[in-house]
């Protein structure tokens, strides 16, 4: 993955003194690391300038400007006219160009799709989904507790939990769960052969589902989508595809990773674990702090015009990275940002980004994490990392954790 940074990979308009040898892919602590803490490892940038240029800071090795301060990330993400999100991230894996919707649309086009989808994932709608989410968490954790006194949390709980909620939202049965997980894994973490194969598989799945629901609508998300109107017209096939794909890639890995990082933190911090177990009313607030400390994504925008950003000569077409884990450790925004304080109240973290593209699924994600932690602490006694094992955490495109073996024997 790492390769040598050469002068030729740095555009001529970038002043050499603004280049830093830091990237979410290659910096120390970003590669898969036993007992690693990749989010904490990003905090080192706060010793440096507010904006710098990272020559290799995307999965395909492109350079980006890196905006480190929370205040400045707000300026970027609240200004989609200057900093567009139209990047065709998914389609580019296939050498194509079409947007994931609504993420990769810009206003005003974005607003119509967002208004269409917002009610489906609003805070009130999520309240209605809650009993099913809780039932699923309880089912999975009871099964784990009955099976023994240790488990691989990602495989036995976090992934099947997040994927089940997603399948339920789409109106699909649970029997394809493992297949879905492998698609998502290959897409997000696969190599240059696995990624396009997974992308094509997901597209075929979504288009097949859309066709079925067009023929015979039921009460589910895809039926809603194929019957929906934006600006008094039906969605095109490419729009249905773009929306379905975004839902697929956004909803699976991220929630599971968050639950993994959170349980790893509690396994390593028995006092905090005991506090939340004894006083579960604290879990809602604690979840916000864990979202601050362990977010998993970086937002990348494309400059639509030349702009001077506090001395950084950003040119049209440049990538601008707003990494959530970096802003969430900004000492100007958070007191003692490197300390995880589960009672932290003043906590305007950016785990779900800022601006019009604020994570559409944030309300559901939050509740999945809260409910996951509540049910886990209710059902599993004091737990730690299993002796002789080491969870492997990594940075990159989407931060994650694997081989998280918890033990409560």
């Amino acid at each position: 993955m790492a390769s040598v940074v050469t002068a030729s990979s740095i555009p001529a308009h970038v002043p050499p003194e603004m280049v830093r040898d830091f990237s979410l892919f290659t910096a120390p602590g970003m590669a898969p690391t036993p007992n690693g803490d990749p989010q904490a490892a990003t905090a080192c940038v706060h010793a440096g300038p507010p904006v710098f240029y990272s020559p290799m800071n995307t999965r395909d090795g492109k350079g980006t400007w890196v905006v480190t301060r929370a205040r400045d990330q707000r300026r970027v993400l609240q200004d989609p006219e200057t900093f567009s999100s139209h990047r065709s991230i998914f389609a580019s894996a296939l050498g194509e160009s079409w947007p994931m919707i609504p993420l990769e649309l810009d206003p005003p086009e974005h607003g119509a799709f967002r208004s269409l989808l917002n009610p489906l994932l609003s805070p009130k709608r999520v309240m209605a989904l809650e009993p099913a989410v809780r039932e699923r968490a309880a089912f999975l954790i009871d099964r784990i507790a009955a099976a023994g006194t240790d488990c691989d949390v990602m495989k036995a709980f976090a992934l099947p939990f997040a994927v089940n909620i997603f399948l339920r939202f789409l109106g699909l049965p649970d029997d394809r769960l493992e297949e879905f997980v492998s698609w998502a894994n290959n897409l997000l973490h696969g190599d240059n052969v696995q990624r396009p194969v997974a992308a094509r598989t997901i597209i075929a799945f979504i288009e097949d589902l859309a066709a079925q629901r067009r023929r015979q609508p039921v009460d589910d998300f895809m039926s809603f989508l194929v019957q929906a109107k934006v600006n008094d017209r039906s969605l095109t096939d490419l729009e249905v595809r773009g929306t379905g794909v975004l839902l697929f890639v956004a909803g699976l890995d991220t929630v599971a990773a968050a639950i993994g990082f959170d349980l790893a933190y509690l396994a390593r911090n028995p006092q905090d674990q005991k506090l939340l177990r004894d006083e579960p009313g604290r879990i809602v607030l604690a979840t916000e702090e864990l979202l601050r400390a362990y977010p998993t994504v970086q937002m990348i925008r494309v400059a639509t015009r030349d702009v001077d950003f506090d001395g950084a000569p950003i040119r049209k077409g440049d990538y601008v990275s707003c990494a959530t884990m970096i802003a969430n450790r900004d000492p100007e925004e958070f007191s003692n940002p490197d300390v995880v304080d589960l009672g932290r109240e003043d906590n305007r973290h950016t785990a779900f980004a800022y601006g019009p593209h604020r994570c559409l699924g944030s309300h559901l994600a939050r509740r999945e994490i809260v409910i996951g932690l509540e049910e886990w602490l209710k059902r599993i006694p004091a737990f730690g990392i299993k002796a002789g094992t080491a969870p492997i955490a990594y940075g990159g495109h989407v931060f994650g954790i694997e081989n998280l073996i918890l033990d409560w024997s």
Binding site: R74, Q78, N118, P119, P123, K124, E345, R348, Y354, R358
Partner: protein
């Protein structure tokens, strides 16, 4: 106490609503309903916490 609602800045995080659902009202899409808020003396602490929780700085506290 009065809270000035900058509706154009609201992006639907709903952090204010989760802190104080009786004070901050959301529309069907999950964004705050337009209009500034006059806060009763007994509600000031919760209103303050809700306003201070907005990631977008859409809620301004005016004494």
């Amino acid at each position: 106490m009065r809270i000035i609602v900058h509706r154009d800045k609201c992006q639907g995080h709903a952090r204010c609503w989760s802190m104080a659902p009786e004070i901050f009202t959301l529309d069907d899409e999950g964004y705050i309903v337009p209009g500034d808020l006059d806060i009763a003396p007994g509600d000031e602490k919760m209103a303050w916490r809700g306003a201070k929780s907005c990631p977008e700085r859409a809620l301004e506290i005016a004494e």
